[in-house]
Amino acid sequence: MLVQQLLNALTLGAIYALIALGYTLVYGILAMINFAHSEVLMLGAFAAWALAGWAPAALGSGLWGAAGLLAAGMLGAGLVNVLIERLAYRRLRRAPRLAPLISAIGVSIVLQNAVFLWVSTQSLAFPQPAGTSAVSFLGASINGLQLAILGAALGLMILLHLFIARTRMGRAMRACADDLEAAKLMGVNADFVIAVTFFVGGALGGAAGVLYGMNYGSIKYNMGFLPGIKAFTAAVLGGIGSVRGAVLGGFLLGFLEVLAAGYIPNGAQWRDVVAFAALILVLLARPSGLLGERAAQKV
């Protein structure tokens, strides 16, 4: 049972971590919470779903098909996120803090209702790659899908790390996160860097949406809300603005939820209580999160 629960926690945590990265990247640069991120993840899943409905034969049902869906979801969600930034946030960059926050909530409601009214009000079946049969290993039934999800999520996290640490654009992003004005004075094209950040954050969210859809086999217009709010929590838990913190927070939340549901008798209904109580305790001890910077307040 332990091996199985570990795997459950890792899969769940990996998805939370991917979404949390989207929150934390945007916060790192603009110090704003992109509350539309949960809809970006939903739209990523719907983009992949649309592609699967449009070209089912070209995709096939194996791992390559799944990779195609993942790419479509990432591209769709990344572009949507860039568009949201351009239309709803850019003009508000110097406005009081509440304005972009409310704008983000507005975008979230608009997108959710657009899908609700134009696409479907109900759960839609999402294609799952073949090979989901369970294989027994150390008393756990490992299923190929769970492993693939975990692998894809970890791969994306490593790519993100390399992108931020090793590339020119990554360095520009770090510079903007350190001090946007100073970076501009050094000749960094801040608008472009911010757009790239939104694209990368959105693409990770879209990937999470596709993996979420594959894991549970169905998607719905409001599917982003719950994982979105939990991943936001994970980002805060790890220290919002910190990339490693988002990953740590995501896995931690996954483990807490699985522990509560899996080991406390009658614990399933207490799952969210346990997870969020832990969040409160962590924040009381470390207000800027586990790996957050001490000098948190950005101006």
Binding site: L145, N215, A261
Partner: protein, 382 residues
């Protein structure tokens, strides 16, 4: 979700009635979920009631024009109360068919009692829906009726089926913490225990949860070795549970048993083939097995297409016929319709319907069906 569709319907209805011909119109409100996960079933009930209304108008059964007025409660108790207030304030409405969910029917019933206007739920099965009317805090007359038998009847049948026919002695129980799901689960525990079976664990999940693997892993590892899972809840969670059960290797002979709320073809959209072989108790019998329903099924398919028939449509149709009977005897007046509904003796698609003093039907047939994934159907088993 800022603008409510039901309100749009309402304004449209007001606008139409203001400029339409002067002919007298009497409305029967249909308050069910028309969108959202339960929308498929709600739309089916709406179509059934509209069919009944069209037939009555075509046969000139009444000296005035009947109209069905659909309202969308989104299976949300708060929205159900909003909708109930709208309906109660429309004086043309003489009776209400709905709500679909027990969670909606309990608070909406209180609103209808104050109006007062009679309400017949086609599908709400939690005992509390009608029992609440006996409380001394109840304001207004008893207005709630239903044509579906209650959860205690359904769960007792499921418990007996699992214990005697399937020979299972140890079960795990899950529910979705709604009045419907929890009610079903609690009644099941009682009945299964009374037969001598053991309930190894009881857990609640939340509507909208997606991940049950941790919980199912624990159930699988339970030292009491459960032989099956009973779930009180709706199809979205049931489908995910089935899928994740199979992924964890909880296969035959481990059984999955649930109630009528999960038994809909949409289940297969969520579960895929994982639902194959799962058991679902239902109230009544499948419409194909009802001797009195052949005419209804033929008319419905002719009016709305062969694929459009949903599992509870004949209950909506029957509720409409019962209201017509009362209307014929009383004339279009809310309170007289209510008084006549209490005297109901209606022989229709469900058989004979007579209401007891709470408003519950005395026609308590329950049966068991088994999911078949290859044609997305549910076969009746004995």
């Amino acid at each position: 979700m800022s603008f409510s569709r039901s309100r749009a319907f309402f304004f449209a209805a007001v606008a139409l009635s203001a400029c339409g011909p002067k002919e007298k119109v009497v409305k029967i409100a249909v308050a069910v979920p028309l969108t959202g996960d339960m929308g498929t079933e709600g739309q089916g009930i709406r179509r059934a009631v509209e069919l009944a209304v069209e037939q009555a108008n075509a046969a000139k059964r009444f000296p005035y024009k009947l109209a069905a007025a659909p309202y969308d409660d989104r299976a949300d108790p708060k929205e159900a109360v909003n909708v109930a207030n709208l309906i109660a304030s429309d004086r043309q409405v003489v009776a209400v068919i709905g709500p679909y969910n027990s969670g909606c029917a309990i608070p909406a019933g209180k609103v209808y009692a104050r109006a007062p206007v009679a309400m017949i739920s086609p599908t709400a099965t939690n005992p509390e829906v009608t029992v609440q009317q006996l409380s001394k805090d109840w304001i207004g007359p008893r207005v709630v009726f239903r044509v579906a038998p209650t959860d205690d009847v359904q769960s007792a049948y499921a418990a007996e089926y699992i214990f005697r026919r399937l020979g299972k002695r140890r079960m795990a129980v899950l529910h979705d913490k709604t009045p419907y799901g929890q009610g079903l689960a609690e009644q099941f525990q009682k009945a299964f225990g009374a037969l001598g079976g053991r309930i190894l664990s009881v857990d609640g999940i939340s509507v909208g949860d997606k991940d049950f693997k941790a919980l199912l892993t624990r159930i699988k590892a339970d030292s009491g070795r459960p032989e099956g899972l009973y779930f009180g809840g709706l199809y979205a969670e049931a489908g995910l549970l089935l899928k994740q059960m199979r992924e964890l290797g909880l296969d035959d002979p481990f059984v999955f048993v649930s109630g009528d709320g999960a038994k809909t073809p949409t289940l297969f959209d969520v579960s895929g083939d994982a639902a194959d072989g799962a058991y679902f108790s239902i109230f009544g019998v499948p419409v194909e097995e009802l001797p009195g329903a052949g005419r209804f099924v033929a008319d419905y398919k002719a009016r709305w297409g062969a694929q459009s028939l949903k599992p509870f449509d004949h209950f909506g149709y029957e509720a409409a016929q019962i209201i017509f009977d009362a209307l014929e005897r009383s004339g279009p007046d809310r309170e007289r319709v209510l008084a006549q509904l209490r005297q109901t003796r209606h022989q229709g698609v469900l058989g004979l319907t007579v209401f007891d003093e709470k408003g519950d039907t005395l026609n308590k047939i329950v049966s068991m069906t088994r999911a078949r994934a290859k044609d997305r159907s549910f076969q009746m088993v004995r």
